[in-house]
Point group: C3
Chain length 320, copies 3
């Protein structure tokens, strides 16, 4: 062993030793976890049959589509079985179960997701319609499906939420986080979201685990549906920590709505940058009372301040 | 067919049936669309000749650069022809045209983009200078080109905008969205942006389709140049829905400027978090009238509130 | 040469000519720069031994882990030597040094990073604990390590900061920007961050180069620790342009804290959307004095405005 080798060997020993010291961030028990790259490819596979013809190289027609879908479903089934098996192994409540029972359970989860594709597609068809109706810059279904991060986010969420509701551990959060990374939109897989949902632009949107969102709701970039306090689950059951948004509500950019008791009544409009921690009745428009702005002329110094508040034209200021 | 096979076959039939029910989110007409991965690689190819030596493994010198650029241009030409051909097929206005005419048109678009590289590079050289001048943490051109998301975003935008102006459908938006995903900066390819443009940090920036931005403009993270209302195109022609930002304007983090009639006069400074829906004359500084803050001491309860507003030092509060 | 060939040749000449005109955005001097994809893979390699078993396909157990770590350390050493060598070449202060001296220096940097893995792991073990304690939606260490962008960001930062402190040019910023792109969290590698650090959600967070953050600090999405002015380094030495956040401080979503003289005293809580450019003493809670909101009933017009301010319940409004 020369000096180079000795130094590297000592580095390796140091790393191994640190695995004994900080066990909480190791995973060295002989079981595989789902790899992020694997989950990412699996998600792309599912999206390729959810939006057929949009995310694959080969052209599809009425003849080829049956074989494409068949092959893709079979591949998804096998990949999903594996990934769900590994996810179940993380949850200690499955610790005692024999491997073939876990495998069978994973098979059922995988099959159920494939069986749910038609109903997920029905929801997404309405979401795409909502995007087309809601954005004057949108030109075609293709443009929306292929280039709207809000559509990517809700498509992935409807898949992740299906798995979350069936208590598959880890995997739904991994899917959500892959989508967060791709789109800047952070939807917890636990969130319940109705039909014809549209997020425009989307960067910075956060939708918490126990949020409940009705039909035809529209959110803009930077909207947070968050929790008021960091209470843990009470007595083992999950309490609603995030708001309820009823049907036909629009929330403009940067608005923050917090708290499990907060209900935004149907048909309401929440203006940009509004910070809400209480409920509002149906049909309410809430806008920020335009904050005073101060204007300085080009060579204005402190003595020469020309200060005047903006007109309080609340009917437009907060609601682009 | 065993039970497993039967269940999978029934799943496949279910998915195929849903393709008949929700036709708007299928693309099964035998034509290819540009794949996102393809467009992403194409964009990287273009960036590799726009910033030669920064995004490729092999070192370049005066001898090798000619062959590198030649090979790369030829490859871009072919890839771009294909992607533009498929993009044109999405636009119904090209529906009746014979395939070779569309192919010829795609060839011209591809060649024109390559011909525009020198002028795109001239603009980007000034953008990189603006970044170097505008950020005290910046050390070298290499650091800026290789690690500033604002530079990546404007480089991609100048490419996408060239295609948008020539009415290539779909592709410019796909490029914009790939950049949005990489950088968190969402610039619609329709936006008109002048020379020496710099976005610092950038996450959450949204620049709408009909925005007009002058020379030497600087934006920080979270700035929105948006629309006041969601009116569609009027009578077939496009109206300006987004603001005009004149030369030498700086807009600080989180500011929101809305509306097609809003003009920010040259040399103005818009402070952080300002919400503006009206024009300001040249040379104006607009800052938020510092909102009152409330301070509680460590064991302060409601009776013991020590409440005092911040000094109204508007000359610094909104303009970091 | 046919017409097609001639046009392409002329395009190539045009691009080459532009390389002579705008030299600042070329890198054609025969030296390689680190490729972003290379740095991204290297970062993944380092993370795979920092969190063993979480980011690799093959299962690890007590027998295999030694060989996995050995092989990975050797690979990281070689890759890091190369990337650091190329990074050093960017810095003009290394211009005159002979190649083998630079290579030796790169070897030392690479080895030192590997030697630091145990202490980086000790810090990250505490960060993961802080995340598990701080988020009621978190279920397991695995979920946090594999799907919390805040954990990815601080893991990468602790690696980048190690290199930054040893004055490796370019590479730390490239790592930071790869993480920014993946997570939406923008931490300059120069920032000094204490133990048990947690960022929840994270999109839009910006932490400037000279920020100093104590122990057990918690940040939410959209928080900026920024500079008040764009002064360059003074007389060659770096001044603190960004705030100091002492131990046990929580900063809620969207808050902006600016300035190198600004110190947030230990145990303080900064509410959502607060804009602070001055210091606060230890144990202070700062909340936005709830801005007046205006509420309109469903058919309310300007005459029928029902306007009432929100209760000023400052003890909860700004601190979810």
């Amino acid at each position: 062993m020369n000096d180079h080798e000795r130094r590297l060997a000592s580095v390796v020993e140091g790393v191994l030793e640190s695995y004994r010291d900080h066990g909480n961030i190791n995973h060295i028990d002989g079981n595989n976890l789902p790899a992020r790259s694997e989950v990412s490819e699996l998600l792309d596979d599912v999206l390729s049959i959810v939006f057929p013809g949009y995310f694959n190289y080969e052209p599809l027609d009425d003849l080829t589509v049956r074989y494409f879908v068949g092959a893709r479903c079979a591949r998804i089934l096998r990949r999903l079985e594996q990934v769900v098996t590994r996810s179940l192994a993380v949850d200690c409540s499955h610790a005692g179960r024999p491997a073939d029972e876990i495998g069978q359970s994973a098979h059922e989860h995988a099959l159920e997701l494939l069986q749910a594709i038609p109903s997920i597609r029905a929801a997404l068809a309405a979401d795409v319609q909502a995007a087309l109706a809601g954005d004057p810059a949108a030109c075609s279904d293709a443009e929306i499906i292929m280039s709207y991060p809000g559509v990517t986010a809700i498509a992935g969420h409807r898949i992740a939420h299906h798995l979350y509701c069936r208590r598959v551990p880890l995997l739904p959060r991994m899917i959500a986080e892959i989508l967060h990374s791709r789109t800047g939109i952070d939807i917890h897989p636990g969130a319940t979201i109705g039909r014809s949902f549209f997020i425009d632009h989307g960067t910075g949107v956060v939708i918490g685990e126990t949020s409940i969102i009705g039909n035809r709701v529209k959110l803009y970039q930077g909207v947070t549906l968050g929790a008021l306090s960091v209470k843990s689950r009470e007595a083992g059951r999950k309490v609603q920590r995030h708001p309820t948004i009823e049907d036909d509500v629009t929330v403009y950019a940067g608005a923050t709505i917090l708290g499990g008791d907060t209900v935004i009544g149907r048909g309401s409009t929440i203006g940009g940058n509004v910070w809400l921690t209480r409920s509002v009745p149906p049909g309410t428009t809430v806008v920020l009372d335009t904050p005073s702005l101060r204007f300085f002329a080009l060579n204005g110094d402190k003595n020469g301040i020309e200060k005047h508040a903006l007109e309080k034209n609340g009917d437009k200021s907060g609601t682009p």
